[in-house]
Assembly symmetry: C2
Homo-oligomer: 118 residues x 2
Amino acid sequence: MDETQALDALGALSQETRLRIVRLLVTAGPDGMAAGAIGEAMGATSSRLSFHLTHLEHAGLVQSRRDGRSIRYSAVYDALSGLIAFLLQDCCQGHPEVCTPAVASLSACACPSPEPAT
Amino acid sequence: MDETQALDALGALSQETRLRIVRLLVTAGPDGMAAGAIGEAMGATSSRLSFHLTHLEHAGLVQSRRDGRSIRYSAVYDALSGLIAFLLQDCCQGHPEVCTPAVASLSACACPSPEPAT
DNA sequence: TCAATAACTCAAGATCAATTGAGATGTAAG
DNA sequence: CTTACATCTCAATTGATCTTGAGTTATTGA
């Protein structure tokens, strides 16, 4: 992920409704959710929702596919992990103060930790 | 870090000049840099720079202290790692697709990996 | 084909963010 | 005390973003 992509992703996530949509879709898993169901969860009108979903899709954070009458949206996991990796990258120049606590917080949850590179 | 703080931080980072300032200050270390030196690195006028630095400070991403005639700005590492932890948190509900690759990217750099929680 | 459903598009207005330039404030040195 | 320097503050302008409401397109089933 380069700076331009990171700025697009950060801009997309810096809006309350969009951040909530992404968090909802991440927990929804690979199948995602229909636009209508997302709108209901957000309490948003269809045109407002469409505006934010289009914004997220342009930023590469979500993807869509038609499923009958509905359009299902799902999180693009690579884009999210890419953004996080981009933010973590800065500390790799001799300043592990940022990434070490961030990664340590993972140890407190159910996520599998990767093997440390020796 | 709660949602409001995360939105503030994301909003602050979603602007080219501010993202660059933060990345510059992270690599600059705990001593930070004088506003003038940051402005020179960014090619920004003093009032424009002040605007962005104030924005970053309100978001909690940088802090300032006077040093003679200058004001030195430095990165707030806790805020950055807190934001990353907030973004990583989503994957802790049974969806490690986001955090695992992000953390794996750390293995490719010079950062020390924390011990996995057993 | 017709009606119903799901979601998108477009234009208008409201709100918010970024840049500029002029001027003010605080600090140090002569 | 005066000058120079570093930075901040304020008002004005421009541009971007968000929301709303009306209308449109696509899909399904009767």
